[in-house]
Amino acid sequence: MKILIKGGRLIDPATGRDEVGDVAIATGRIVGLGKVPADFAADREIDARGHVVAPGLVDLAARLREPGHEHEGMLESELSAAAAGGVTSLVCLPDTDPPLDEPGLVEMLKFRARKLSRARLFPLGALTRGLAGSVLTEMVELTEAGCVGFGQAEVPMADTQLLLRALQYASTHGYTVWLRPQDAALGKGVAASGAVATRLGLSGVPVAAETIALHTIFELVRATGARVHLCRLSSAAGVEIVRRAKADGLAITADVSINSLHLTDVDIGYFNPAMRLTPPLRQGRDRDALRAALADGTIDALVSDHTPVDVDAKTLPFGEAEPGATGLELLLSLTLKWGQERGLSLANTLARVTCDPVRVLGDALGSLSSSAGRLVEGGVADLCVLDPEAQWRVLPEALKSQGKYTPFGYADTGMALPGQVQATLVAGTVAYQRQATG
């Protein structure tokens, strides 16, 4: 199928390119960018006048809840949510049931995702068997099956000795280890330590839970030379330590979730279970530091931390409610909202969800690494056509994801969000196109 996207504002965050033009697509690749060969005969045209044509979004943290939690999300609904959100590549976490600790599971997941052809799926393998923190997984075989890195999802490594060995082993083979910095013992609370948790009588997670884990990880990175990606930073103090470690030249990258970027613990309000999240929402100064760090590059990427949770698991007292919120369909809008509020250009804003996360993934993407997250002639046609001016209201029941819990629902916030996806292309195929509404 040959597709012509006409008259859009082409934005390539990697180069800063920002100009009106056409995009010609054939056999899954971009064959013309800006000016299209005169003899190009399209089977299908997409009118992008007044809209932006950008690389498809790359989300470094999404849970699809398969296998094991099919009642909360299924590959089909969640990958449809990705496409509707302009996300063309996503990294899924290993905390499925059973966890992604066997090549067979990873191959099955990759195979099913490929058949659905909505978004490219890049699984993270479990760092330890069953995420139990005692035995290393077969990382070489898992990589051959399609894993792009290894992590523990939300399960902290209590055994520092094993963490050291995991980093040694992963670095032997050049694999990246993805860790959410949280001390096992200090991280047991249900809300961030501070005035709100104290007032509401909720058990707290102190900032030290993050900073102690970061210091430990950095010492081990220095000792092993391993490459580590830090998942979902939550505190101003954590950001500062990461900034210094990067200045020291450590091989680390980091991300932050849309929730921590836009919310604080005050939003918990009257025990709203939609605000039960990991990492827990912290204070205003933490949110401000995260927003600044994402702008100055200390934090490399913005992630949805998409976690569909069903109604039974959320209609519980705050501390018992399952953490997590739906996010794939909100990632683009919450990225744009952050960029607008900081006065950044569209290209600079979109970099955090396109070329920057691709840089985090690096060689693990194989041949895709040279063109995913970018607009490159000859590169893969993973694209998002979006209207950055459109405002929309998040109505949870209208989301494609089976996860309906979001802190950003219109009923809760009374706010509209900027930016609407018009079409999403994955490997030159239309994975999503917005239906025109009267």
């Binding site: 007032r199 509401l200 009588g201 005050v266 009257y270 209609t315 705050f318 009374g414």
Partner: protein, 320 residues
């Protein structure tokens, strides 16, 4: 984020549930205390009943055991002529795997008018108030570490009874503040009613500095903490705190923070000593003090019935 209306109040600002003292206007607190005053005399009558809640069904839902608190609510409801049904849920439906909201839906179908809820999780009564039928009223009888509003109200009732005015008072709350729903409710009630100074006294494991954000002065030295106070509220030290990582032993706690005659002598000469009960003699309070002339621990219990009658009758009269 848009903040939702306080779920305890209807659109006229009237109390429809009692979930927390926090956020209640001074006028509502005063109304409860004044109403409680009128009910005190009922307790002295030969026939201790008024017909205000005749025909109403009040369900005591105790997801966490507490015979004493449940009994005080039961007495208050019966003196208002309501029908009282006690459910010890800790040992029944949830043990069979029924969800909290399913339990609530079932009991609502039995035409309950009021739920009195005790739960080990902070915020559980909010969830119940959100999901029960609009005519059902919810009273929080203690949720996790969060709130125990009727205890807070009976504490300020007691203080008003003995001290008449809140404006110049210095009140010390001593003990395990961080895990105490009573302390939180006391702090909110005392601040709303305008006491001059609220102190939180105890070791750093039980009285962290975060508490300053609730407007209290933190003291780690007991003698300094009770000096020149008008009111001392002693909190019960839960058994699990004595053996965990919070405190080395009960006897060492008593040495530093137990209220003895000697420490009490540092407070004002007309200081009153309060305790939500049940007391641990020789752990947080010396027997001589508990039974001494400053102690108002037993009058607190009597006032507690009147305060709970006041809360029940007020919310039953307001519509969502």
């Amino acid at each position: 984020m848009l903040s939702r209306r306080n779920p305890q109040l209807n659109s006229h600002g009237e109390l429809i549930h009692l979930l927390s003292v926090e956020g209640l206007p001074k006028a509502v607190l005063t109304q409860i205390l004044d109403t409680a005053g009128t009910f005190l005399s009922v307790n002295d009558r030969e026939v201790k009943k008024v017909p205000l809640l005749r025909g109403k069904s009040i369900f005591n839902l105790f997801f966490e055991n507490s015979t004493r608190t449940r009994t005080t609510f039961e007495i208050a409801a019966k003196r208002l002529s309501a029908d009282v049904i006690n459910l010890d849920i800790a040992r029944s439906s949830t043990a069979k795997g029924e969800s909290l909201l399913d339990t609530i839906a079932n009991l609502s179908a039995m035409h309950a008018d009021m739920f009195v809820v005790r739960h080990s999780e902070s915020g559980a009564p909010y969830l119940i108030a959100q999901h029960c039928a609009p005519h059902v009223h919810v009273i929080n009888a203690g949720d996790g570490r969060h709130a125990h509003p009727t205890q807070g109200l009976l504490d300020v009732y007691t203080i008003r009874h003995y001290k008449k005015d809140f404006a110049n008072l210095r009140v010390a709350i001593v003990g395990d503040i961080v895990h105490s729903r009573v302390a939180r409710s006391d702090i909110h009630a005392l601040s709303t009613l305008g006491v001059a100074e609220i102190r939180a006294v105890g070791p750093k494991t039980l009285v962290p500095n975060d508490l300053r954000e609730m407007g209290v002065h933190v003291f780690h030295d007991m003698k300094e903490g009770v000096r020149d106070c008008d009111v001392i509220i002693m909190l019960r030290l839960q058994n699990e705190r004595m053996s965990g990582g919070m405190l080395p032993s009960a006897s060492e706690y008593y040495k530093s923070y137990g209220l003895t005659e000697e420490k009490l002598a540092l407070a004002k000469s007309d200081c009153i000593v309060m305790h939500p009960g049940p007391i641990n003699r020789g752990v947080e309070i010396d027997s001589q003090v508990a039974d001494g002339r400053h102690s108002v621990i037993l009058p607190q219990v009597t006032f507690g019935i009147a305060v709970r009658m006041a809360v029940m009758s007020i919310i039953a009269g307001n519509e969502a």
